[in-house]
Amino acid sequence: MSATLAAIPARGTDRPAWAMTLILLAAMLAAPFLVGSYIVYLLSLTLIFSIVALGLNVLTGLSGQISLGHAGFFAIGAYGTGLLTQKAGVPFPISLLAGAVIATAIGAIAALPALRLKNLYLAIATLGLGTVIQKTLFEWQGMTGGGAGLELAPATIGPLALREAAPLYYVILAVTCAGIWCARNIGRGRTGRAMQMLRESEVAAGTLAIPVARYKVIAFAVSAFYAAIAGGLYAYLVRYINPEGFNTGLSISFLSMIVIGGLGSVPGSIIGAAFYVALPELFRAIKDAPGLVFGLTLIIVMVFLPDGLWSLVSRIRERSWQR
């Protein structure tokens, strides 16, 4: 069994993919020197949403569990990081991690309904969880400032103040790269394969001695961790957070990112996030046009590429392979 598995070439070791990745990374590193600060802001936003999408893809793409509550974890990351840094004076990197750890714990608890629920029932339960988190942040005015929102001073890492767009962008880029590396390893390792098994059939996974409940909890916890890290970075990108923004619409947007990009694929997560940020931006000047174009593209992509935009790339690659 292990011999036959070893005979299958591991995915993603082909040279063109590595070359493309390095070129893309170089372009991302050079970006702040080439484009204006608004574009750098949009790139940062894309990377932050990519982090959420990477985590959500572990949950939905790999494990097949739907969530409409990830805006809640994103919010916990944002408020956890912001409050710990602002009110308790904890250094930014530590509070970023602390916020994510809190969200991970809540994510693991959120997995408990998922042990029994499926599909739309799970979607509504997670949607409910997101609503509960959002309303709690709203009502806990003494701590969060409630509907007035929370303004944040620029983050500092050691002596370095992340006041300008570029330094913060590099921090976000570094975190995204770490996130991509982890997501790839989760996906290709034992955990990822167990998760794919439970996506295909929980019964079959159970008969192969895969502890279904444990992997569901892991999937929820991992994706909550990713969402909260992204939330913490987001809080310091925009430097003003309000519970109003972390609504069900945002959770649905996260889900649409991974489906548009490609379920269960790492590049798909990033493409989906870029699509979500860039497309409405192109039509920003015209009222109602961003929504119309974004919605139409969602429909067209789904009808013609039900497996997402990344499937187009792999389709082209396969074709050039055969030549």
Binding site: P113, V132, K135, E139, S256, G291, G295, M302, V303
Partner: protein
Amino acid sequence: MIATLIVSGLAAGSLYALIGIAIAIVLRVTDVPNFAQGEMAMVSTFVAYELLHSYDLPWWSAILLSMVFAVAQGLVVQAVIIRPLIGAPVLSAVIATLGINIVLHSVAGIIWGHETHIFDSPLGDAPPVFIGGVPIPLDSAANIAAAVLVIIAFTLFLNRTWAGMALRATSQNHTVAKLMGVSVSRSFAFAWGLGGLAGGLAGVLIAPAVFLDTNMMGALLIKGFAGGVLGGLSSLTGVFLGGLALGVAENLVGAYVSGSFSDALTFAVIIAVLVLRPEGVFGVVRARKV
């Protein structure tokens, strides 16, 4: 006081139930939770508004024509977008309905603007009737009556007509339904048409109460889903009772516990119920072959 709250809760719950029925009937036949149901209803309500104000049609004929539009809208969406997605991952179809949702919202915004419009109802100014000393506003009574009528009509249709039985056969097994001579694609069309009708009714019933604008259906759609899931999407009665329970619970929690926290508390209750009854309170657990 409490009786009044329950009555208005039932009236709101009836509307959740109508949206829930629209979602349930589409979901059962096509396996797709339709996230565009709310905006489809919003557009048909705007069509009714347009017929009333630009063409000066009498109220009843405007409503009737807008319901025809609601059904046609469901049929067109199904034929153009959902049918090509048969066999694709369900999540792709879900995101496609989400796309429809966003498109309809923007289109309505372009045509009718995002400001609020007043949608008249012939029952709006009528004095309430008293039943057992409890004042019942006529529009609340109309909501409840409409939901009950739709439930009865849909149940009769599903159980007593050939088309309805074809629909149920499709919802159980596409292949076997085809072998029995049922046209699966016609069942799909029927389901979306009926869904459009139930949703459109909810739209024209809620519009007089909350003013007509493009955001009118957003919250209602989520409540429709939640009520349906609470009662159990596998039976129309379950969806109806789930919607009613949600409406009443929301009103009572809002009045006695916390106004702004009622959404969160209601959802907390729904999560708790689902953990105990994963298929909804009235849901039937379907045995599945592995």
